[in-house]
Symmetry: C2
Subunit: 409 residues, 2 copies
């Protein structure tokens, strides 16, 4: 008799974005003429840029000719892309990364979800609260988190609250933690850490032989000079940190699918006898066994982002979104809202007025302003009473949504 | 202190295809002028077909315009592709499959490797011997297989030998088995099961509440009428079988990346209390959490395979490869080799002459004929003394390789 993985039964029933979709659909059925503006799910609206489109066309044509056709590529990605990543994202900032330390993949969501597989099940994980749900759910499925308790949390996860009191910056854990998920610029709060702040985490990990799983999917949105774009800007991070990067938001690849993960060869985890093992080797084995590489035309497209034309085009798109972020942030402040984020990130995290619950505010915003956002409570217990808006809409919709918030809320 | 997943330490050191690459590279260094022909790794050589290329171009252009740009798609694939899959691969053969039972993915290797995640760790798995290594390795990593023993096998796996005596067709397991990996047409032996033979496996699974993980990646190569193309042609299979299908070999997508997996809603696995749970729901949760969908232009390309032009083009390619298979099979037989497969599959499984070991034959073939194949021992203990050749080369290279085998071996 085949047994099921019972860890899945611990997952809370409804996924955040499914519940949002359900409520929006119900509202649309009851109000078929409502003109709904979505600033909820973090999906981009700007199309792929001309240089990327041209490169994909060329790569597709290569695939149509026997002499240039590409079959199976290396699971970890083609060198032509990896070298461009290293030159542009790391070497240019004085960071050393080797070719065999970069793993190209089809997304940071898969990578952040899959990466826990190479760790033992007895590790204690820590996550910020609020947090991107995938870090938690993937560990629940693996059986690393224990029971879902009355507080809406898992018994064996260490939650690091991000609150108004600490300015949405988590404090170091007070109990033992082996795997630390950090995401900066943060989804959902839009907040960042300075170099000095991030250094405390690297130092903690070095002292405790912990691993930092650093999600830097939004680094391209950083505007301020003292905010690190890579955790490897911090001394010693190569010993303790894995970094996840994505082309999804940087270059509009949410539907095109390409990302990469950096696993320095120095990062070690340990067996029961205390022997050190390089995570790089384990991840290589995991990827070569359970993954088959990214589509060739997609890798060519990703490499083109690093051309002169590509860099200019994606910079224009990022500026477009960050102008939206500024509008939302400054608009909400002028309407009297308390807000976080939106300066170095495409997310704005607002405190709901009048102590409304996150879902109460969601319903009110939907009904009164016909605007969809994301309830903070969906990201964790400390997200209750907060709400996320994204800067990925069109300029026009962003302006219209703000006007409605001003006049109808 | 972060602990490593120690199950990885049980994996035998060198992966089959890495060892082949190592030996070929060494030979090339010592013989830089040798004209090596590769009939080893199962990668295709025919380019993407014109209809597929045109569809990808159109989809890329869509991605370049704001009004038709696609961001995040459904993790399980777009309905436009799923509906074409159902209509052409199932409904046309009288098989009922629902839209929410098809999960589009980036490959059958990932799917067959990942699918075990939704099962409990105490299940006993069975694999044929020889076998595609990914089924075994992914279960080793998860911790379902026990120790790697002196026989070169894992203690807790039930191996089902495919030998000359049983005509490369496995016999039903004699001890309890919960998860059964079957691949037909088989990689590496190239053999198939008839409907009656496959029915025994479905009946076994129904009696024992086991699950059959049925890898049908090579179904498009089936030529004979009494060979089932889908396990769902067998009565009751919808209760016990998951089927993996791929566009890799069917349409030359090894570098383009698209596949799909069928999980009927009736297939159940059980919790410790004996409650039934639908695998379909668990796989949906797994995919929505740990996967982010296939690149949009790739899904459009895959859908085009089902157009009239697409069907004709891929049929021509399959015929090309199957003509190679026939040449290899008939050539080897005429040279006095004992061979299996090559009739309904692009693989030819030959018995090594003079009781040579698989790797001895590999080295001899490389040195004397400058032809690369795959040692059967790399697929399991029962593969020792056998050798795999593939029909995915060009016609010219296939003919030249055969001529060399005739004259130099």
């Amino acid at each position: 008799m085949a047994l099921i993985n019972e860890n899945y039964l611990k997952l809370p029933g409804s996924y955040l974005f499914s519940e949002i979709a359900r409520r929006v659909n119900q509202f649309k059925q009851e109000n078929p003429d409502a003109d709904i503006i979505r600033l909820g799910i973090g999906d981009v609206t700007r199309p792929l840029t001309p240089a990327v489109i041209q490169a994909m066309h060329d790569a597709v044509d290569e695939m149509g000719r026997a002499e240039s056709f590409r079959g199976y590529g290396p699971e970890q990605g083609y060198d032509f892309l990896i070298q461009k990543i290293i030159d542009n994202d790391f070497t240019s900032r004085g960071i050393q990364v080797d070719v065999d330390e970069v793993f190209v993949s089809d997304g940071s969501k898969p990578d952040t979800a899959n990466f826990q597989e190479i760790f033992g099940l007895n590790n204690i994980i820590a996550v910020t609260d609020p947090v991107y749900p995938v870090y938690v759910d993937s560990n629940v499925m693996a059986g690393r988190t224990g029971r879902f308790n009355e507080k809406g949390q898992f018994d064996n996860i260490v939650y690091l609250p991000c609150t108004e009191a600490n300015g949405m910056k988590p404090e170091l854990p007070k109990t033992r933690v082996d795997m630390l998920y950090l995401c900066f610029p943060n989804n959902p709060t839009g907040m960042t850490l300075t170099r000095d702040e991030l250094k405390q985490w690297v130092d903690y990990a070095r002292e405790n032989k912990s691993i930092i799983l650093y999600d830097a999917a939004y680094e391209a949105f950083i505007q301020e000079a003292d905010i690190p774009r890579s955790i490897y800007e911090i001394e010693g991070a190569r010993e303790v940190a894995v970094e996840f990067r994505s082309f999804s938001k940087t270059a509009g690849f949410t539907g095109t699918r390409c990302a990469y993960t950096v696993v320095p060869k120095e990062v070690m985890a340990y067996d029961q006898d205390g022997n050190a093992h390089s995570l790089n080797k384990f991840w290589l084995r995991r990827q070569t066994t359970k993954f088959n590489g990214v589509s060739y035309p997609v890798q060519v497209a990703a490499a083109t982002i690093y051309s002169e034309a590509g860099q200019k085009e994606i910079r224009d798109n990022i500026n477009y979104y960050m102008e939206n972020a500024k509008m939302i942030r400054e608009g909400l402040i002028s309407f009297g809202y308390k807000v976080f984020g939106g300066v170095n990130a495409p997310y704005i995290w607002l405190k709901t007025p009048d102590n409304l619950g996150s879902w109460e505010f969601f319903d009110k915003l939907l009904k009164q302003a016909n605007v969809v956002g994301t309830p903070g409570a969906g990201f964790g217990a400390s997200g209750e009473g907060y709400f996320r808006l994204t800067a990925f809409g069109t300029r026009e919709n962003t302006a219209r949504a703000l006007e409605r918030i001003r006049t109808k809320m």
